[in-house]
């Protein structure tokens, strides 16, 4: 009878940590701990002796885990190893999702896989949310620039808003550019002229 796997999630963002933990709980019965403050990380990993450590691929503290992973021998307990060596596809999926896992050597692959699958799904979700947020921000910025360009045209040429937008769109089409790019140029040029 296997004992419950113990998992440590290293994550500073509270919201994100909760979602990852929820995802893991759905996947199985695990003992999960979150480390939010990375000071003294090496010592704390050694104290907790986890079977698996999950951490953002881009977290600088990963390099500390790398050092633990190569320093400890296979018979010691806090031996974190990297993502399962036998499954290249899983490794790649994890990297693409932005999650890295340090796994105790000798842990059977069928015990690791559900944990990783759950982590990969949650990390993917966060990547998507981040991308969406960035896209929304960019769209908002563009909207603001276009509004300013319209206002400049309306004032300079005495036309209404609809005509101003039509003019921007026609210019953009003629030049093979995006409306936002033309608006940007116009705002910049108007700034120089006033």
């Amino acid at each position: 009878m296997d004992k419950r796997l113990s998992i440590i999630v290293v994550e500073r963002d509270h919201e994100r940590a909760i979602r990852i933990v929820d995802g893991l709980r759905e996947a199985g019965d695990y003992h999960i701990q979150v480390i939010a403050d990375e000071s003294g990380l090496a010592r704390r990993i050694a104290e907790h002796r986890p079977d698996i450590v999950l951490i953002d691929l881009a977290n600088p503290s990963r390099d500390i885990l790398e050092a633990i992973a190569v320093a400890s021998g296979p018979t010691e307990r806090p031996v974190a190893m990297f993502v399962d060596r036998s499954d290249e596809q899983l490794t790649r999926a994890a990297i693409e999702a932005g999650v890295s896992a340090y796994v105790v050597d000798g842990l059977r692959p069928e015990r690791i896989k559900p944990v990783l699958d759950a982590a990969i799904a949650r990390f993917h979700m966060f990547q998507r949310m981040r991308a969406e947020l960035a896209a929304t921000k960019a769209a908002l910025e563009e909207r603001k620039i276009i509004d300013r360009a319209k206002a400049i045209l309306m004032k300079a040429r005495g036309i209404d808003e609809e005509a101003a937008y039509a003019l921007l769109r026609k210019t953009a089409m003629d030049q093979g550019k995006r409306v936002a790019d033309i608006a940007q140029q116009l705002v910049l040029a108007a700034g120089l002229l006033t």
Binding site: S39, L57, P60, R62, I64, A67, R85, S86, S100
Partner: protein, 390 residues
């Protein structure tokens, strides 16, 4: 012209300069390349992204591709190092508590003599020291092990990994007594009043190869055209960087928000070798603190691969001879010759040398006649003879 797009990973450090300059000053565009520079947070991330094909090439610590070859990393496709990006550029720092003891003992902080600094440090600390390095497989780790080992430190030394931007914090929190790190992070700790600088890396070993341009072996071999273009763009950027007048401009470029996001005054120290070694503002000039081109700085000597592999193998209980041979195979002097000859690089007659013999610049036979090699001596006279029969 349609530019070929390449994604390059870099860790924000002064020695990422060749990649950043290749992009910013158009050396890449001249070769028909559009570089997409991807800033990464951890060395392990750079390695993983390269292995998974998310990036095409990486700015990497020279010992990293060697450690991968020796099976000390995750299962990823094989990596090759095609050229060095920088030599030197590291600094050793001690906490202000230790610095004060050293001063009280009459130590002058000359920022030059590794022998006297080592003895003074050993006396001031009783031979017990926790030292931070950026990664277990780093030139910094090799410098620290070699220097302290030859300075009378024995079992009292603990070398721990601390990411460079966290080095100052770790010292402030008392987690490390000393560290060896690439610029600007040593100067950053001095600026915050946390550390004093003891030595440049080059005082320990005159020619410590620091970063390399690393590609997946499959890309280096199957896409020679693009690989060659990238190498030439980066090599020309290094040549530009080694013109002394350009270093100030380089500091301005590197300091921008997208790259180091620090003041250019701070970045400039590690590029000009004019270092403030203490929070009190003592200036020391370290000539040739970092090199990107001169004296065959970018040539990936196979003897250096063997030297580093031997040291790593000994520390990790691996058989030394196979380790040296595996490492030599991933330093691609053949590709360096093939791709950089046409850019006008002078090429040494041999691809390996006895390391540690040169205390001064030295002329050797090359394809153009004679070329000047950099000094490569260790402070304690250590020499290393690589296995020449390949």
């Amino acid at each position: 012209m349609n530019l070929v797009r390449l994604r390059l990973g870099y860790v924000p450090l002064t020695d990422a300069a060749p990649l950043i300059v290749a992009h910013e000053l158009g050396f890449a565009a001249e070769e028909g390349l559009e570089l997409d520079l991807v800033r990464v947070g951890a060395w392990a991330q750079s390695r993983d992204l390269l292995g998974a094909g998310v990036i095409d090439a990486a700015h990497m610590l020279v010992p990293m591709p060697i450690a991968q070859r020796l099976g000390l990393g995750p299962a990823l496709p094989e990596f090759d190092l095609v050229m060095f990006l920088s030599v030197g550029g590291q600094a050793v720092a001690v906490s202000e508590a230790i610095a004060e003891k050293l001063r009280n003992n009459g130590f002058a902080f000359d920022f030059a003599d590794a022998h006297s600094a080592g003895l003074a440090l050993c006396a001031a600390t009783g031979g017990r020291l926790r030292v931070g390095v950026p990664f277990p497989f780093s030139t910094q780790a090799e410098l620290v092990w070699h220097w302290l080992g030859a300075s009378g430190f024995a079992d009292g030394v603990e070398v721990v990994t601390v990411p460079p931007p966290m080095m100052a914090d770790a010292m402030e929190a008392g987690e490390v007594d000393a560290f060896c790190v690439g610029e600007p992070w040593a100067s950053f700790a001095v600026e915050r009043g946390i550390a004093s600088l003891l030595l440049p890396g080059r005082a320990i070993w005159a020619s410590p190869p620091e970063k390399g341009l690393v590609l997946r072996k499959s890309m280096a071999e199957d896409q020679p055209e693009v690989t060659g273009r990238l190498m030439r763009a980066v090599w020309r950027a290094g040549r530009w960087l080694d013109v002394a007048e350009n270093r100030g401009t380089a500091a301005e470029i590197l300091s921008q928000g997208a790259y180091l996001n620090l003041s250019s005054e701070l970045t400039e120290r590690g590029l000009t070798g004019r270092m403030l070694v203490s929070p009190a503002g003592e200036l020391r000039v370290a000539p040739d603190f970092i090199a990107f081109h001169s004296g065959a700085a970018t040539f990936p000597w196979k003897s250096l691969a063997a030297l580093i592999a031997r040291r790593i193998a000994l520390r990790h209980g691996l058989p030394v001879d196979p380790a040296m041979r595996q490492a030599m195979a991933c330093f691609r002097t053949d590709l360096y010759r093939q791709h950089l000859r046409q850019a006008g690089a002078d090429l040494p007659g041999a691809s390996a040398k006895v390391e540690g013999t040169l205390t001064h610049p030295h002329a050797v036979a090359s394809e153009h006649g004679r070329m000047i090699l950099r000094p490569d001596a260790f402070f304690d006279g250590h020499m290393f003879e690589p296995p020449f029969d390949r």
